[in-house]
Symmetry: C2
Subunit: 135 residues, 2 copies
DNA sequence: CTAGTTGCAAAGAGTTTGCATGGCG
DNA sequence: CGCCATGCAAACTCTTTGCAACTAG
């Protein structure tokens, strides 16, 4: 849990702000900022931010790297996330739909869904159309 | 894509059969079978089996290891999966509930859910009760 | 017999950690 | 000024790869 707002921390936050809702791997971020922040600082800050809940760890991008997603400080825990396997974009499901879904699962399977942790994979409208048009 | 059914491959398959629907990390499996199969063979066979579609790669267990789930050859792609964060068990959602859910998302967010890829995280009934009873 | 597989060990990739220096408040 | 955070590099963990020996068909 950080106490000082360092230059590096600010730079990292700015970087994340510019990549809201994208899935970024720790090493990818560290690499992009390598000339401004050391690798260790990136990893440490990323871990801190995750602990603070400012960042969500996805870790499911096909590799074995730590993958994070920054959501601009919004209340992400209140809406499920839809992640497109094609373009990687993540969209927040409407809370209303999410709640209905959660209740449905609770009623049918006696299972309490964690909205903040769950990411639903599939294909977004844009990519679905794209796929249809080209080969 | 393997052509021979080797002793190691059979042993690995048997191991997986005994752990259907559990989330197993590659290293965990390799370690468990270390005295019967070499690490490399485990990794190679796991990769082959995934390519053949006999195994599903989860890779989202909080660490940075390759995590797999074996489903005994069932048509897992037809039902969403619920994974308990406490005990790690994965249960198949009833297809009926899953379909309703998928349709709901499709209607509200114009997003095509991939049932085979999606894992919903939360807490199962058993663990929910457990949590309530002790401290 | 022939080619796919295994095993071992070395090489990689990514992440974590120890310690001295630097900088926020 | 004091203590946290940074940087650097070494240490680690997990995974991949090269190559000779082995074995399933």
């Amino acid at each position: 849990m950080p106490k000082y707002m360092t230059k590096q921390r600010r730079l990292l936050t700015e970087y994340l702000m510019q990549h809201v809702d994208e899935n970024l791997s720790a090493s990818q971020i560290a690499d992009a900022l390598s000339d401004q922040i050391s690798k260790s600082a990136v990893y440490r800050n990323l871990a801190d931010m995750e602990a603070e809940g400012k960042l969500h760890r996805v870790t499911s991008g096909g590799g074995r790297e730590a993958v994070y997603r920054f959501s601009g400080g919004q209340a992400c825990s209140q809406s499920l996330h839809l992640s497109c396997k094609k373009c990687g974009k993540t969209v927040h499901m409407q809370q209303q739909t999410a709640d209905a879904l959660v209740q449905s699962v609770a009623a049918n399977n006696d299972f309490t869904v964690d909205k903040g942790e769950t990411v639903i994979y599939g294909v977004c409208a844009a990519c679905r159309n794209k796929k249809a048009s080209l080969s």
